[in-house]
């Protein structure tokens, strides 16, 4: 896991991590973000989908352009850890926005 990774690999990990957090944040704040209602018949789902995926691809393009010439831009372990933490954060944000009180 201490293997050095190139800038292009780091850009893939960082943009994916950003997309995961964006999905979580948009889902968490969906009740107060009217801009997510792009297609009202599907509620906020289409908005969350489009904004997070566009954000992911734009972040990937920008980071790839910035880092692609770097032969070393961090370690694999750090990239995996960032991705895992982002995934966990996204899951927690989504689950925190749901009505778990119905269990009680």
């Amino acid at each position: 896991m201490s293997m050095k990774v190139s800038g292009s690999v780091t850009s893939a990990f960082l943009s994916s991590s950003a997309a995961l957090i964006l999905v979580g944040l948009l889902a968490y704040f969906r009740g107060s973000l009217s801009l997510l209602e792009i297609y009202p018949a599907a509620g906020t789902l289409v908005g969350i989908w489009i904004y997070s995926y566009v954000g992911w691809l734009v972040a990937w393009f920008i980071l790839y352009t910035m880092l692609r010439r770097k032969e070393s831009a961090g370690t694999l372990g750090t990239c995996v850890a960032i991705f895992m933490v982002s995934m966990l954060l996204s899951i927690l944000l989504i689950e925190a926005s749901l009505k778990w009180s119905l269990l009680l």
Binding site: M1, M3, V9, V23, A42, Y53, S90, L98, K99
Partner: protein, 159 residues
């Protein structure tokens, strides 16, 4: 027996989910095996790409069904589930709805790593371990989401 377009799309939804399961299991098993035979790399690439396409197709077909699911009628699946067992919609279905968006991102990262590193993905132990960890967690997530989606469908299917 005639099937409506919606029923056909929902059938495809399940088939794409099964395809995502199978292709991710095959991808994981090739990486886990630790060696690539003659045509294994092209198979590995194809199955990793198939996982991404399947998960995207699951989302697209799911969205199509979701529009009928949440119609503001008393006989729409959402209304029926909210009346019979609200938790199935408010927690299980909504978990599937939003967490399902993560699937294509996760699988695209894995596919990109496989296409980028080629044979090194199984030869380099650290890299192999990292990809396996990411894949296993993603696979467990798909498994959980499928379960979360199955329960509301068992109460009332989208039709």
């Amino acid at each position: 027996m005639t099937q409506t377009l919606l029923e056909t799309v929902m059938l495809l939804h399940g088939l794409f989910a099964a395809s995502a399961f199978l292709s991710s299991i095959i991808t994981m098993s090739i990486v886990y095996s630790g060696r690539l035979r003659e045509k294994s790399l092209s198979r590995l690439r194809a199955f990793s790409l198939l996982t991404v396409i399947s998960l995207l197709a699951v989302n697209i077909t799911g969205l199509y069904g979701y529009i009928s699911y949440r119609l503001p009628n008393p006989d729409s699946p959402r209304s029926i589930i909210l009346m019979t067992w609200p938790l199935a919609h408010e927690v299980l279905f909504e978990t599937m709805e939003y967490l399902g968006l993560i699937g294509p991102v996760w699988s695209a990262l894995v596919a990109w790593l496989i296409w980028h590193y080629k044979g090194k993905i199984v030869e380099e132990p650290g890299l192999r371990r990292a990809v396996l960890v990411i894949m296993l967690l993603g696979f467990l997530m798909i498994l959980g989401l499928s379960y979360a989606g199955l329960i509301p469908t068992m109460i009332t299917p989208v039709r």
